[in-house]
Amino acid sequence: MNIVIVGDGKVGYSLAEQLCKEGYNITVIDKNAEALMHTQETLDVMGVLGNGASIAVQNQAGVPDCDVLIAATSADEMNMLCCLTAKNLGAKHTIARIRNPEYMSQLQTLKEQFGLSMTVNPELETAREIARVIKFSPALKIETFSKGRVELIEFKISQNSPIAHKKLMELPAATNTQVLICAVDRDNQVHIPGGDFQLLPEDHIHITGTTADITRFLHSIGEDGMPIRRIMIVGGGRICYYLCHMLLEDRGIDIKIVEKNRDRCDELCELLPKVTVIHGDGSDIELLESEGMDQMDAFIALTGMDEENLIMSMVASHKGIPKIITKTARFKYMPLISRMGIDTVVNPKSTTTSQIVQYVRAMSNAEGSNIITLHKILDGNAEAAEFVATEKTRHLDTPLKNLRLKENLLIAVIVRDGKVIIPHGQDIIRKGDSVIVVTSEHRLTDLNDIFRD
């Protein structure tokens, strides 16, 4: 499949990297020769220098024969124009990054007018991700499947947790709940655990189950978490705006925003009347302290500078704030960051990338059981994918214990008629079931990919 990516920035590069790994033919268009050269030298892609909205450049990049054009430049209008041009030249699908909050209400019209197959808004998605974690405080990260029926949460085992040093098969008896531990991150190594896997303190575990079951599970091991009421956000950008909107739906949450830019402060005041806006530099610890940083339930660092975000979060961690969420733009620091006591890191780039990769993968699989949801977990080292079983799926109605599955792969959840089943050996996959699979090694495009035969 041929894919053209316009814009060789952070998102463009990360998309090219990911899609290239999946084996597609990638052409990247950008105006910056230096960035383009770096991409060509480090990835097996072709670069075309020029304005991505120009017909001549798009022709040169082979847009008329391409299956997908992804416009990921920094300007929304440019992205829309790129997609419009590409559509007219004959690109089959177009995806645009549109992130201006002012366009959000007219997205449907834009999609129709410009013939867009999909729009992505990294800031909105990131805000959703943060909101989920705030609303369910024990989790470091939450992803959802099957329209929210199933959740996948990341959670760190504390030193004196009752489940530390327990084997997985002892858990159901110990906690009396229906959840499944589907992936464990130990010292940046990903394990897809079996029944005799022993949990250790400091492990990051990923649990799947219904919200109710997971809550009960966490309750039984004494990790209820406390409701988050007071939140401090440093950096009043777009993510902050979307996030406040989401959080303020619940009553009883107080938000304090610290923002450097005076004009932006005024804007925020107008847009978000219920929050307290402080004009000041968030990297000034003195200021944060005087604004009552110590009494906060959650601290969220969302400035445009990775370094500032990290330092502020470390300070917050030192002060013992229970929930700390940090935004970073660069993915490569992840292994370092988790060692510094900062547990929840959000990355708009990777959120956008997995959204688009999911779409492209579903498209490249024309028949059979399409991917419905795809989440990259554990810094992209593993993925959790949801499929629907169709008549083309092999081994339907066979007990799971008789199936020969690939290694490092786990069937985490089966959803049948809205009912969530944590599968055991005697369970079967039926036509129409949603099946959630977690794997660390394979790249799945079809449910049949999980079988060895």
């Binding site: 033919n25 990638i26 052409t27 020769a33 060509q40 030298e41 480090t42 097996d44 072709m46 220098l49």
Partner: protein
């Protein structure tokens, strides 16, 4: 420097070379020449003994940087030259080892300079191997490796393409490196086969057709006849070979554009137009100069002029005359053409037309800048601005070429031959032409040079084929310093 990674690639190249040698081995066996077959078997066993263990090495990081890319190419080509020479030595076809090396380097680098006084006495197996080295070297071994093993054409394989492929700015045809190298080899193979068929249609024997086509496709110039193409004594063959020499001097991107039916894009290519213009102008000048002085009719002058111009500008080095008794003016045009070379991205040697065009435009710009110091002008190729760094790189390349040319010239002049022979021999080897002027012109060979000169000339050929940098980086101490 990632030594393990370099050795791993080297191992793969050597294993590939062993596979390539099966073809001449088969021909030797069919001909019943057992001594020669034994030579090939020995070499193949040695290649496997070295290549397979090296190819299995596991490097801790497989990330290929520019430095590793250049060194892999340089080391691979040196190893190819050494192992490629062994069959000549083992079979006794060429008694002195330095001569074997010279002949092999000349083969892989598609130079076509020969130390053999009597080519026709060689057996078919050895002749085939000699020409097959041309065909492999023409498009490149690492590119072949990338075409057959997708894993080699990984994320950072562009560095290998850049180091091995000729031209000022080698790039891909399609997004995937694996497919790019496959396409290049498919175009190469198809054109070669078409030429073989056309030569067969002209009554040439299958063996001679294959040897001649391999020599043309790679713009090498090894022939199965002492008198090169003149030995076939056929106007039809001369025309076919001349046309194909011209075609193989064209950037392979153009053939790809034609293949995907982007005719206008292909014909608008500035380099192609200049290439065509230079060829036509050179033929015209030489024809005028020859008519009346060397040959009586315009037709005859045109026939020989056209063939020789195509042969020298594409750096093939075939000839359709047995002796070069041309006037000096014509001979000097041929000498100049050697430096021009074909288009970038072709199998031809020389500086490449694109570099000449860029340097020419940069000179014009620099002159204009003197008169109008505040003027702003940029160098453009195909209507697009050429990056300043690239222009600078091209200028450095040309200067380096001249510098190396004179350095080699001084060493070769120790042999005390005449000026025309010495100058043209060095120019010919550095630009991968093969045939030159004077004693090494049509009908002559390099046998009379001293071993030192042969070594220097062989090094020049490698420098020319790999476009200077890989070998210079290999011998530069700075490359090997960690800090």
């Amino acid at each position: 420097m990632n030594h393990k990674l370099i050795l791993q690639y080297l191992g793969k190249v050597l294993s590939l070379l062993a596979a390539f040698m099966l073809l001449p081995l088969l021909v030797s066996l069919v001909n019943g020449d057992l001594i020669e077959a034994r030579g090939f078997v020995f070499t193949i066993l040695m290649l496997m003994a070295v290549g397979i263990p090296l190819g299995r090495l596991k490097a801790s990081t497989t990330k290929l940087y520019a430095k590793e890319g250049f060194i892999i190419v340089a080391v691979s080509w040196l190893a190819l030259s050494f192992f490629g020479a062994l069959p000549f030595y083992f079979s006794g076809a060429i008694p002195s080892f330095i001569d074997c090396l010279f002949e092999t380097v000349s083969g892989f680098t598609t130079t076509g300079a020969s130390i053999l006084r009597d080519v026709e006495s060689l057996s078919p197996g050895i002749l085939l191997w000699r020409s097959f080295t041309h065909w492999i070297g023409g498009m490149g071994v690492l590119i072949f490796l990338m075409a057959i093993i997708p894993a080699v054409a990984g994320d950072r394989a562009l560095h290998l393409l850049k180091a091995e492929s000729p031209g000022h700015d080698p790039g891909k045809l399609v997004p995937k490196m694996h497919q790019t190298s496959m396409l290049l080899y498919v175009i190469y193979l198809v054109l070669t086969v078409v030429e073989i068929l056309l030569l067969l249609a002209g009554g040439m024997s299958p063996f001679h057709s294959i040897i001649t086509a391999m020599g043309t496709a790679s713009t090498g110039g090894f022939s199965s006849m002492n008198a090169s193409i003149a030995g076939f004594n056929s106007l039809y063959c001369e025309i076919v070979v001349a046309v194909f020499m011209f075609l193989f001097g064209i950037n392979f991107n153009i053939f790809y554009l034609l293949f995907i039916r982007r005719l206008t894009g292909a014909l608008k290519n500035e380099e192609l137009r200049v290439y065509f213009g230079v060829v036509v102008a050179a033929i015209a000048l030489i024809t005028i100069n020859l008519t009346g002085t060397t040959y009586p009719t315009v037709g005859q002058s045109l026939r020989y002029a056209a063939f020789q111009v195509c042969s020298y500008i594409t750096t093939t080095g075939f000839f359709s005359i047995t002796q070069m008794n041309w006037p000096l003016f014509s001979r000097m045009i041929l000498l100049a053409l050697m430096f021009f070379g074909g288009c970038s991205g072709s199998t031809a040697g020389g500086l490449k037309i694109s570099r000449i065009v860029i340097v020419w435009k940069e000179i014009r710009r620099a002159l204009f800048q003197i008169i109008h110091p505040r003027s702003v002008e940029i160098v453009k190729l195909d209507g697009k601005a050429v990056d300043k760094g690239l222009v600078h790189g091209v200028c450095v390349y040309c200067c380096l070429c001249i510098f190396l040319f004179f350095s080699s010239l001084f060493i070769v002049s120790l042999d005390n031959m005449d000026v025309e022979t010495t100058v043209s021999a060095v120019a010919s080897c550095l630009n991968n032409v093969g045939a030159a002027l004077g004693k090494v012109g049509p009908g002559g060979n390099y046998a009379d040079f001293s071993p030192l000169s042969k070594g220097v000339l062989a090094f020049n050929m490698l420098l020319g084929r790999l476009e200077l940098y890989p070998l210079l980086l290999l011998i530069s101490p700075r490359t090997w310093r960690t800090v």
